[in-house]
Symmetry: C2
Subunit: 127 residues, 2 copies
DNA sequence: CAACAGTGCTAAGTCTACCAAGCATTCGCT
DNA sequence: AGCGAATGCTTGGTAGACTTAGCACTGTTG
């Protein structure tokens, strides 16, 4: 009775696309920001169970929810929309609006490296 | 019998916000593009009754629907998102991607003037 | 006139995004 | 040990986004 949700069995072959990647992205960003599920849910003004489900790719959040999440994580809204496939991937640029975001979005850094950098950065500016 | 929308009566006092303006915007853009409800609904891959309700402000469409509508109307997605309040009003610019759009978005033109301009433009390029 | 295609709208139903309540585990702490 | 607080997750339900039928009207056209 663990998963009453996936009992479908109809078509799970093609059901793991960009949706999952969005949830994973949010989760990773949340952890980099050192927030718990409830904290982020609170900031983004959604319930924590729902956020949990979103992060696991069970539901695709509406644009408004994405907006709330983006603001709570200090990410630009465009970034999340793009991740969600709601906005065609912008030609070249990422829209970093802060050092935090710039770091966290850099694809050439590993999660650990990001954490380290952010920690140092926070040390400088005073957490 | 012409206007069946006057039967409102229920609650028109406080229910007319930015939501309506989105519907009105879509409707005006659709008419400027000389499309029927069914035609646009078809292009945007939604049902025509639903589009009708969206245009009258009864429902707020999801981002995906907005995307479909934007593409069908040759509007930039950002423009519609902004109108829907899903994207903070961009600092400076409108994102016109065509002469059509540039005309239709110009706030200094009346609907009639836009129609005329578009007609002429279409005449030049061959509809 | 009748028949038809076109317009927008209503009505009734399905699906899913989202919430409130509560479970299970793990972390301090005394 | 044992309590409280924090973590993430499951369950059951509500609401609203969205669909398939079908209605009412306005032209055409024969």
């Amino acid at each position: 009775m663990l998963d009453s949700r996936d009992m479908a069995g109809k078509k799970e072959t093609s059901n793991r696309g960009p949706l999952d990647s969005l949830g994973a992205f949010i989760r990773s960003q949340r952890q980099l920001a050192r927030l718990s599920l409830r904290q982020l849910a609170d900031l983004a003004k959604v319930s924590n169970p729902y956020l949990s489900q979103v992060e696991r790719g069970l539901y695709k959040p509406s644009a408004e929810v994405l907006k709330g999440i983006a603001e709570a994580l200090h990410l630009s809204v465009e970034t999340l929309y793009t991740q969600a496939g709601l906005l065609g991937a912008k030609a070249g640029r990422q829209h970093a609006t802060s050092v935090d975001e710039a770091i966290r979005l850099d694809g050439r850094l590993t999660a650990d490296q990001k954490e380290t950098l952010i920690r140092v950065y926070r040390g400088f500016v005073g957490d």
